[in-house]
């Protein structure tokens, strides 16, 4: 993975000192909370319902064990013993004291981490495929480009006060695990007819109260022009994006108001003018960064492991975990494993300091010191020997991390909701827990198969409910909590916004209603069909009837 050189170190250290000064001015009363707000926001410090919240960047979700141990240490020392993995692959602490935050940042800088641009109307942490560099269906490692984007976007002098926040994701696989199409800019690495590798560039995707799927603004961009092209898009957006209404300020609104052809015309015209302005990093720099992402020293192993087959036969729980949480690796004899942070009696994405320590140890010992966080709020060990899987699983299982539910109905994404967030209409986390309890039976979960439930506590859609196979949105009806259901959303290459099916359901009704929905699907399921496939085949009507018990 990428390592800082003296320049990276200096920039991050300078940021810590700068923020220390800003906090000092605030605590001394030299600046008001109003004036402090933009400064802390640029550094991931929010004021939540109960306390300040600090969001630490995990660039494109890649961590070393040393870094994860530091995150555990911070959870233990400055928070209540846990952290929360977010849908941008970052980690959030809900209880740090403002006066401690400069010290936390200083310690993070020791392990090449920071909180830069994890909030504010700037370019946010770039996200990617959590299986990057390990998966067999990938063209090349997208993290090389993520790191190039990270550096370029850090303290960009022109684009740090955009109309609204700006999110970029990169994927290089056939299957889109990074929800690229719901980003302000989405990048798919692809090969053209000549065998050259470049980017398909999408623009204008996003969640929130007006969700949109990104549209292609350029079908093929030669790789080496990435930064100048991004710069052209950002410049058009910074100039023309709406600033009169923050709900209409994302680039998706501009794209849909102007139409993609007009946007394309403007971006291409701008790019033509700046292409040769020395904005793109040269090949030597691309090579330098690329070198950090050379694959680890894999051993030559047989494609299948006898030890694994034997262990699967001996333990039903382990077998189930392998079925749902273990994925094919590009290297024979290796595998990618998902550690589920769901359905273990805590909020989706929560992980304790002790669990982080354990995962760090496992990553160091078994996974070439690499650990990943995922946008669906789980953790991944990307490079495990199949021979080691049983040993790894036993240790995870003992620590309450052995849930075999990756991609299943209990692998729920939920935003913080009313428990933490001051914009919320409803609670999200308790509903996730109730659903997880209802569908506890592993046998039944396996039968249901891939089903993505996503919950947002308000229209801002931090829980991505629009793209859940089943989406749940919290609404407020005269002071009472209600849940609105959407069906048929997807975040993959076939990305789609779910259909709103009808009236909101009360807290008492919602779990039963979703169970009826799932049961109906099971009666209709043909062959290997997932919930989403059956829904697409039959349409919304019968599902609606099941949901509202009108049939």
């Amino acid at each position: 993975m990428y390592r800082y050189d003296e320049f990276d170190h200096k920039i991050v250290r300078d940021r810590v000192d700068q923020f220390r000064g800003q906090v000092k001015r605030r605590l001394a009363g030299d600046i008001t909370e109003d004036a402090f707000k933009p400064l802390r926001l640029m550094n991931g410090v929010y004021l939540q319902l109960h306390a300040y919240m600090l969001r630490v960047a995990i660039p494109y979700g890649t961590l070393s064990s040393k870094q994860l141990r530091m995150l555990a240490h911070i959870a233990r020392t400055y928070d209540k013993g846990y952290g929360h993995i977010t849908t941008r692959q970052n980690i959030q602490y809900n209880w740090p004291a403002l006066v401690d935050i400069p010290e936390v940042l200083d310690q993070l800088a020791d392990v090449e981490m920071h909180a830069i641009q994890t909030s504010g109307n700037c370019i946010r942490n770039v996200t990617s495929d959590q299986y990057a560099g390990a998966t067999e269906d990938e063209l090349e490692d997208p993290r090389v480009w993520c790191e190039i984007i990270r550096q370029w976007s850090t303290f960009h002098p022109e684009f740090s006060f955009l109309p609204r926040k700006f999110k970029i994701a990169v994927s290089a696989s056939k299957k889109d695990r990074a929800a690229v199409k719901i980003h302000d800019i989405g990048l798919y690495l692809k090969e053209n007819e000549n065998g050259d590798v470049g980017f398909e560039v999408l623009v204008g995707g996003g969640m929130g109260r007006t969700p949109y799927i990104g549209q292609t603004v350029r079908d093929f961009l030669p790789k080496e022009h990435l930064l100048s092209y991004l710069e052209a898009i950002l410049r058009v957006y910074n100039t023309l994006g709406r600033r009169d209404n923050s709900y209409k300020a994302r680039i998706k609104i501009l794209v849909n108001a102007e139409g993609i052809e007009k946007i394309q015309e403007m971006v291409e015209a701008e790019w033509a003018k700046i292409k040769s302005e020395n904005l793109d990093v040269p090949q030597t720099e691309i090579d330098r960064i690329q070198a950090y992402f050379t694959p680890p020293a894999f051993e030559d192993l047989p494609a299948t492991s006898e030890a694994l087959t034997k262990a699967r036969g001996a333990s039903e729980n382990f077998d189930r975990w392998v079925t749902h949480n273990v994925n094919p690796h590009k290297q024979d004899g290796y595998a990618i494993a998902v550690i589920s942070l769901k359905d273990h009696g805590t909020a989706p994405g929560d992980v304790t300091d002790a669990q982080m320590e354990l995962i760090a140890d496992l990553g160091e010992k078994y996974s070439f010191d690499e650990i990943r966080t995922t946008h669906d709020q789980n953790i991944v060990l990307p490079h495990l020997k199949q021979d080691d899987l049983f040993e790894v699983w036993q240790q995870l299982h003992a620590a309450g991390l052995g849930q075999a539910n990756s991609g299943l109905i209990s692998d729920i994404i939920a935003c913080p909701g009313l428990d933490y967030c001051n914009l919320a209409n409803t609670r999200s986390i308790p509903l996730a827990e109730r659903l997880q309890r209802r569908f506890q039976d592993p046998e039944r979960q396996g039968l249901i198969g891939e089903l993505k439930i996503k919950i947002s506590g308000c229209i801002n859609a931090c829980g991505h409910h629009h793209i859940g196979h089943i989406g749940i949105l919290g609404v407020d009806k005269k002071g009472e909590e209600f849940y609105q259901i959407t069906l048929g959303g997807s975040e993959d290459k076939d990305a789609a916004i779910g259909d709103i099916v009808g009236r909101g359901l009360s807290t008492d009704e919602v779990v039963d209603a979703i169970e009826r929905l799932v049961d109906y699907y099971l009666t209709q399921k043909q062959g290997e069909e997932r919930f989403l496939d059956t829904y697409k085949r039959l349409g919304a009507e019968p599902f609606k009837e099941a949901l509202y018990e009108t049939a």
């Binding site: 200096k10 550096q151 600033r243």
Partner: protein, 153 residues
Amino acid sequence: MKLLNLQDKKVTPLSPQDTTMPFEEWQSGDAADALALPHDLDLASVDLDFSKVKRLDLFFPIYRDGRAFTQARLLRTRHNFIGDIRATGDVLRDQFLFMVRCGFESFILTPEQDEHGFLESLAEYDHFYQTSADKAQPVWQLRIAQQKLVGAA
């Protein structure tokens, strides 16, 4: 109000002679030394001749509105404007470095604002990752220069 000038790093009271012509007047043909551009003017493709203007004022209605950053950079890189670019409106210490990097050279401050803090903020960073309108070499260029040094030694 006071004026901070980047060239001599000095603060002077804003003189009453220091006037600026509104954009519409200038467009209708009046000559001007100093001109205030509307903050929603798209400078990417307009064909305007600023060669006789000595100073252009760009406006930050509120710190969050970052359009003037793009305007300044375009004035420097596309319009090759070499005169003074002045920041007016909500000009914050913590955006000062970004403004300088985008090509601003003078700044209107309120009487309470501490110009020393502004100038100190310029020293808060040694390196920058990206090319902008200032003379700073981006980090990738420094890396290459360093490689060459190592190679030569």
